[in-house]
Structure formats: C-alpha cells, structure tokens
Amino acid sequence: MSTGIPASEAPQGLRLYGAVGSLAGAVIALQIAVMRVFAVGSWSHFGSLVVSLAMLGFGMASVFIFVLRGWLDRHGEGASRAALVLFGPLAVGANLVAQLVPFNAIFLISDPMQKWRLLANFLLYLLPFLSGAFFLGIVFRQGRAHFNRLYFADLLGSGLAGLAILGALYILPPEKLLVAPLVLWAVALILWSGVARPGRVFAALLGSGATLAAYLILPAALGVPAIAVSSYKGVSYARNFPDAKRLYRDISPFGDLQIYSSSYMHFAPGLSDNAAFNVPELPANTYVGMFIDGEGPSGIMRPLPPEDAAYYQYLPMYYPYVIKTKAKVFVAQFGGGLSAMTALNAGATSVTIAESNPEVLRAFRAPELKEATGNILADPRVTVVGYDGRLFLTHTDQRYDVIDLSLADSVGLSNPGGFAITEKYAYTQQALEAYINGLAPGGVLSVTLWNKEEPPKSVLRFYATMVRAAKAMGGDWAGSLFVSESYLSTTTVLYKKGGFTADEIAALRGHTADLSFDEVYSPGFAYDPASAKGILQQYQDAIFGNAPTDGPATGATDAPGDAAAQGDGPAPGDGASADGGADAPGDGAGDGAGDGTGVVPSTTLARLVWQGLVQGGAADVTPHYVFDVQPLTDDRPYFAGYIRPADLTRTLDRLDTVQDDWGYLLLWATLGIACLAAAVLILPPMVLGGRMGRGKPALIVYFGCLGLGYITVEVGLISWFARALTNPTIAASVVLSGMLVFSGLGAWVAERIRSTGLILPALLGATALALALMTAVLPGLLEAIGALPYLARLVYCLALVAPVGFLMGFPMATAMNALAECGRDQMFVWAWGINGSFSVVGAAAVPLIAVSFGLSAVLEVAAASYALALPAYLSMLRRA
C-alpha cells in the first residue's frame, strides 16, 4: 500500500499535528485503560508491570526504524499509515486475547504456566504500543526539520488525553474504557486520511467504527468476558454466593464501586473470640459488602437493635470508649462506617466523619441503600467532612475527645497478589502528630490495624511511627500509650493527651482481659527483654533459614529409609530435645521460643519492640529485625519494601515466604528487565552504525538523562500530589496533563532558541535547581493547600507543575533540532529510542527510590539527571 502514493499526500500543518497529537493521546489513554483492566481483573501492580514494559515499544520501534532507515526513506509514508491503521485493531485484539489467557498471581511461583501467561499478556499489550510508537517514530523522522512542533503536538495531545481519560472514567466502566483510546485513534486516522478525500475519510470512519463495534460486541458474541476477573478477587467470592445480589454500582476515577448483598456475608473485623459466649447471635442479613475495583469487602452494617449493642464492645475500635464517655468523636476515615457506628453506640455526643472518596459518601446517601446503611449519615449527631481527615484536622480549630482511625484500608490484610506500592499518608508520623494535635485535653487517639502477618511487618512499622510521633509531642509521652494485640487479627494503639491515669490503665487492662487480647505495652507494663532471647534470630531464620544444613536432618544426603529414621529423631512427639527445640514444634515443646507463658512469638516480639522503642538508643531492636520496619514519614509513606535491599537476592528461592511484598519485588523485576531491554536497544545502533560520528557516549548520557529525569519528575510528583489530592488516579491525571502540556509549550518556544548557544545549558541548570528547590517547598505548600476546595487544589497543583514542566520541554526539542540541523539524521531516531528506554527504567526506579530513600530523593535524582545532562550537552556540541 506504500508504493505509488506521491509524497505530497502526506498530511501537513494542522492536520499532521492534529493526527500526531491524537495518536499520542490515544497511547496515553490506552495505558490508563489497560491499567484499569488489570486493577479490576487482577491486581494493579501487574498492570503497572505490563504497561511500563509495553512502553519499551518506543525503544524497540526506534531500533527498527534505525535499522530500516534506508527502506523507510522510500516507503515511510505507507509504513506510517499502516502503523496508524493497525493501532486500533491491535488494541482491541490484544485486549480480547489477553482475557483468554489470564494469569493468576498467586500461582506465579508454584505453577510454571503462570510465567508464560504473564509473558503472553505483556507481548499482547506490547503490540498496540509498538504500532503507535512506529507511527510516531516514522512521522518524527520524516518531519525532523520541525521536530519541536511535532513534539509540541505530541506532548499537548498526550496531556489533553490525560484530562480526557479522567473525564472518561466518570462515564465509561472499566470494561468499556478502551473506547477512549479508540476514539482518539479514530480522530488521528480521519485527520491522517485527509479531509479533502471523502472516500478515504469514509473508509477511516468505517474502519474505526467497525473496530469500536468489535470491541463492544465481540466479547459477548464469542463468550469471552470483557474483563476476566480473577476468581481470587474479593468480589468473585461474593458473586459465588447463591443469593448474591448487586445493589449498587458507581464508576468514577475513584474506582469501580460495587455493593453486594448476601446472607452469606459476615463482618466483624477483629471481633474478640469471647463475643461468642457473651453476645446474642446477630440477626441474619445484617451486612452488605462494598467492593472497590473488586477488592474487599468492606462491611456496611445496618444499625443493630439495642439488645444486640453489646456486640460493639467486642470490636477493637471500642477501646477508646472504655475510658471516654459522652465523647466528641472524629473518625478520620469513614470507610464502611463501622467506627462511626461504634462511636454512636458508645454514647458519643457528636461524630464527625471524614471520607476522601466521594463515591463512598454518594453510596451512603443513595436511596436504594438507605436500608442497608441505616442512613447513618443523616443521623443528627453525624457531621460529614468530604475530604481527607488528616487535612481537615490540620486546618480546623475543632478539638475532639476521641479521634479514631480504624482498619481504614487493608494495610496488612493479606492480598493474594501482594500489594501495589501506594502512599499511605494517613499513617505517617506527621499524620499522627496532626491527629494528636486535634485532640482536646485528655483526648484519646485510637488507631487499629490488621495484625495478620507472621512474621509481623506493617504493625511494627506502625509502632515505630507511633513512638516517633508521641516523642515529638513531648511531655510524659511514654505514659500516654497503651497497646493491645489479638494474634492474627488486629492491633490497637491508644495515645492519650496528657497521659493515662492509673484507673484508666486498670480499666483498659480489664477490657483487654475481657476480650482475651494481649497487652503489648502500657505505662509500667512489666516486661523482661531477656525473655525474648534469640527471637530476632528465630525470625531471621523464619525467612532466611536453611534448616537441613544446621539441623540434624543429615538425611538430606542419605537413603530414604535413613532420612525417615533421622526425621523421626527430632520429631516433636519425642520432646523436641534432639536439636535444641527452636525449630522443633510439638505437643511437648510448649516453650520452644516464647517466654514460656504460652505467648505467641509475634506478641513476644511486639513487646520487645515496644520496650526498645520506648527506651530508645541501643535498646531499640528494630535495626536488628529481619525486615525493615523504619517509621512512616511523609517523605517515605509506605507499608511496603520490608525486604532490605541487601537481602533481595536471598529471597529468590523463597519468594512464597514474602508474598505480601510481591508488589515491591515486582518493581525490582521490572527495573531489571527494563535495564536489560534498554541496554539491548541501545546496542544495535552502537554496533551497526559505526560511521555515524563521534560523541555517542555523550549522546547516550544526554538523552538517557532526559528520559530518566522527565519520568522521575512525572512519577515522583504524582506521589507527592496524592497527599493534597488524596487520590492517586486524579493526581496522576493532573500531573501528567500539566507536565505534558507545559512541556509542549516549552518545546514550542524552544524553536526560538539557538541550539549552539548557552541558553539551553542555562535552562538545564535552572531545571536542576528548580527541582532541588521543590523538595524544600513542596511539603509546606501541599500542607497549606490541603483544605482548599478541590478545584482550587487542582489549580494550585497545576500551577506548581507549570514552571518545571515548561523548563523540561526545552532540552529534548532543542537537542533533537540540533541533531537534525547538523545532519546527524541517523542519530535522531536512536536518541528518541534512548530517551524512551530510559523512561521505562526511570518509571520502575521511582517507586523503589521512594520506598528506600524517600520522595525527596526522587526529585533529587531528577535534579541530578538534569545537572548531568548539562556537561553531556556541551560535550555533544563540541563533538558535533
């Protein structure tokens, strides 16, 4: 189809820029749509893996274009048209086939087939990105004389598409979200076909219409699910219940919220086992389940009749009301409403609830759910704050007797596929300080977390955070804390402003005993650290142990008969004495590791940790624990990355012991693959293009730094802004759109500066400086805008992005122009590919840097990248 088309038919001017912008937008929209498909069908971090690797398509396309440059000189137009035409059908086809080969994260280690399925998913979704990259790469190469205009169109299109998809998320459910990229692709196709050629426009319309129809109709027609939802997602279990009924669905950028009713649903998060003998059986059908993106359920409970109200006393969130009656209560995150219900039943005089997800509040106000929710928000004692609780407390003069943050999200509640790495700004040291500052004199902060990990991780990280926040408050902080755990259930930490009285401690202890929970810390709690002797080493062995080599199991090399006999030796029935007992469980071995009082090891460990944290200094055992349990701060707000980097390679043969951290490990895998791929993609032109001039190392450094720097700022700022915007999807759209549009403007203006002068080096220096400055000013600024109306916060965030976005538009455009001007055309596409490949490396590296070193470090890496690009640019110029 490429031959015989005169060069003059290639679109020019606005039509060209429009087509480039639309397709660039379609690529961004497809990225977000595919991420949503994974978030709903399986687990979002696998979506990140697939999509970020699919972006390697840009690197690959550039290598192909580089290799085929001679052929493309003759057939470029046809090739670009073919690539453009194929984008839509490939997106639809890949998505459809991917639903036929869903992979199951929980069997990733044990079932060899799952790795191939994951690979198949990646290869399938790579196809449309590859065709999009081909199209853009060829067009950029053909139009290299006007690179900065094309680049402007590309960035502007991508940026606006980011906003468009944000809007689309309100109207298109995840199973129809690919409509957004397909429409953008259709626009590109029509523009490219030529408005003056009705026949072609008609064909383009017909083709894109058919593709869209295929997307919407084929799944049902072929009996393939539009999104194959893993049978291990929470919502799949609910759907299996015979009487399950979906009562409600709401879609928005805040997620796909669905509420199911079923008599098979039973919630009582953290309920004491003693409830069984003290509380009458609850009436059936007391709950409905709320799922967001198929995750959950969060239980929504209808109000209980007064005779059943004793039930609340057996929930961990009841703790503060043991010592606080007639309280003015603030619930920092409303969720399914159980904390608020507990407070109301405990005689609170007023309950202010904060919920940053408007979808949840809408559901609680929906007429069809009035019965299920008991219309709790309409209770005259309840006041609703429609945004983040922490931000509200920072900006209000109100003070509360009880501030509750209970099981607000599923921190530590195990998830079969591991957790995606997300910022938990509600649990940082600064957040806890904000809560404490919101307390009236004598007020109590109560935080309840899931305690379902063994070995414990997130709870220890939280303990360290709580102690740090309490210390920062000064006074008798050690006398202000009370901690109680229930094994493999929940943990509750109380902080009382001004410290607990002896009577209060006695009451809390009595309550703990009534619940059969374990006291972990309280002022004056008698605990002898010597009783925890060896427990840190035992937890080390629990992950990195290798019992056959240090145990008595010499059977490892013996004949089977002997092995059995040897195995019998240390068997627990024999008293566990043969090998020292630590790893010899058994009926007789009751005191193998604990302190001999029937306490489980994780409770012993928790007591040891509290003792150490309170005493501080050398007594602090957390540095010696097998996992990294450093406190959460606003700069490092993660319940993730527990494996110390030095231990990473040791986990490879025992991945199933660290399943909770798979989201984090997957990032290392992504980074590894991305680095490898980047190296492979950079190599061929190095080897093949021997004649293309000197200065290649400088070129690699320059464009590599730009790729790395740009994506680092982009992804890093999304995490930063999630704090003020309280939702990662919206933060992502705003940052992406803002940066791309302003960078587009920068690229546009870049046409006016000379590539050989010192302006660009100066701009590079200014960019590095601006980024370094941001780490200093952003925390305060984000705090300050936190309580403004949402729209105002969006505008402020855009304003914060604008200057760096604008500055960052120059370096790429100017340098590419320079390459085109000095006749190094063959380098042109290669440079574009390097930039793309390093973007993928950066995208994977950012969360790792953030988890390990903090969000400031992310911006510092970006600043360093731009600083390093400066000498590289000068060197490139010299050698050109």
Partner: protein, 289 residues
C-alpha cells in the same frame, strides 16, 4: 439397567474422566483401622498399597517421597497421622491438568477461587488437631475433599460444609466414585452445601473444627459448637502465605469458658526450610534448585 443407574454411572464415569482416573480393575480392600502400611521402605509401601488399594505405583512412589519430606519437616509425627497421610490418594482430588503436580509441595487451583492446600499444611493442621477415632470433626470449606478424605482415616465422624454449590456437587461426584470403587472409609463424610459460618448445630458439639476459608473473625457459632477442650485451626491469609491460627476452648472448674489463640508451632517461630526434592526416594537438592 434402569435409566437412573445408567445416568449415575455416566456421571461417575464423567467425573472420573475429568480427574484423569479411569476406573481401575483392582478394587481397594476396605480400610482397616488396625492395619498399618509399611512406613520405612518405599518398595514395601508401594507393594502393600498396590495389593490393598490397587493404586497407581507411580503416584504411590511420589506419595511416599512426599511423606518422607513431610516427616522430615516435622509436619507429621504421630503414627496415625502418618497412616492417614499415606492412605489418602491426593491424585484423586486435584484437577486433571495438575495431576503431574499432585505430590508437589504446592497448593493448587481447583477453580472457583479455591485451592487444595499444600500437603505440608494439611499434614501440619491435622497433626495439631490430634484427631482420635470417634472424634466429631467439623470442616468448614470442603473444597477439593482432600482434607475430609484425610480425616476419614483418623475418625469415622467427619462433617463438612461447602458454600460454593458447583464445587460441592463436583466433590460429591468424586466421593461417590471413590466409594463405589471401594474406598468405603469415605462414607464417613457427611456433607452439606451451606454457609459454614453457622456451623452444623444438629451434629454438634464437635471435638475438633477445621476452617479453611478466609474471614475477618472467628465465627462465634463455631466457637459455641466446639466442645470444652476442643481445638479449632484456621488458616489466615491468602493461599501460599497462610499462617494457621489455633484456637483452644477451655472450661474452668468454675464453668467459665476461655478461648486462647496460639500458633500451631507451639510458641516457636517457624524456620524456613527449603522443600527437598526427591527422585526415586533420594534427595537430589531443594525444591527450588
């Protein structure tokens, strides 16, 4: 042949085919509560089992190797538990596509978001329960049926509840087939398709309860239906990363009931042990390399 028995026969054959096990010629001799299979010789075990139960020698060899590993890792220590482990044909309870991994240490998918637990976990949980003949055992979450089948070699009173109806029916077909083939001990399982949260009060109280489904609290009805000094075990967390909670209910002299949560390793931290790989009964490395 009347229509009903023809249909039943077809259904059984279909289930058997789906599980990759065609009805074999050699019918198992009924389970004998006094007989013990040889435990210290692989060949003798296989011979004994072929003779007594007519099972496939390849699977028997794999089962014996897995048995050695499980004993070595101290998930099995009581002789009766060991017998139960050796007598339960795991290959009958996995999906056909997983037959070659029936005796791997992994948990396996059985559809409906449900897994058949890894053999070590099953062995460990059952060891902790200390089931004696005559104990009433309630299982919440029949799933594949493997755990119920295992229990049938320890007691003659097994009650099992499954919430997912198609799974309940499929497992019923497997049991019907096995019983028809001579595994009469499996007749001890009484099953129902229901919400296990409320237990099975008509048949309670129970000496032991084993719960195999995720929940955010221990269902109070189950604690009520547990006899004093009874033991309950519940895996917490997703498959593959499960920690097992042991709940012991005791009644003091004053009649006061207390419930204690503990771990199933008796206060020990569980050391990671790479699962050793056996080939023809010889250890040839770990599970991973």
């Amino acid at each position: 042949m009347n229509r009903r028995s023809f249909m039943a026969g077809t259904a059984i054959a279909a289930v058997a085919a789906a599980h990759g096990n065609l009805v074999r010629a050699a019918a198992p001799t009924p389970f004998d509560w006094t007989a013990m299979p040889p435990m210290d010789d692989r060949g003798a075990f296989i011979d004994w089992m072929v003779k007594m139960r007519g099972e496939d020698p390849t699977f028997l060899g794999q089962r014996y190797d897995l048995f050695l590993n499980t004993v070595q890792h101290r998930d099995l220590y009581d002789d009766l538990d060991k017998r139960a482990f050796l007598m339960t044909p795991r290959e009958e309870f996995v999906l056909k596509r997983n037959l070659d991994r029936a005796y791997a240490s992994d948990f396996l998918d059985i559809g409906y978001g449900v897994t058949i637990s890894g053999p070590r976990l099953v062995a460990r949980m059952t060891s902790v329960l200390q089931v004696k003949k005559g104990d009433r055992v309630l299982e919440i979450g029949t799933g594949s049926g493997f755990q119920s089948a295992y229990l049938c070699h320890l007691t003659d009173q097994v009650y099992s509840i499954e919430i997912v109806q198609p799974l309940f029916e499929r497992t019923g077909g497997i049991f019907a087939d096995l019983i028809a083939r001579g595994y009469t001990e499996f007749s001890a399982v009484q099953r129902k398709n229901d919400d296990g949260y409320y237990g099975w009060p008509e048949n309670g109280p129970f000496d032991k309860i084993i719960v195999t489904c995720g929940i955010d609290h221990v269902p109070p009805p189950l604690l009520e239906q547990l006899k004093p000094d009874g033991i309950m075990v519940i895996p917490i967390g997703p498959p593959g990363a499960q920690h097992v909670l042991k709940v012991v209910k005791t009644q003091g002299a004053d009649g006061k009931i207390t419930v204690a949560r503990s771990d199933i390793y008796h206060g020990s931290v569980v050391p990671f042990v790479p699962f050793t790989k056996l080939q023809d009964g010889k250890i040839v490395g770990t599970h991973f390399n």
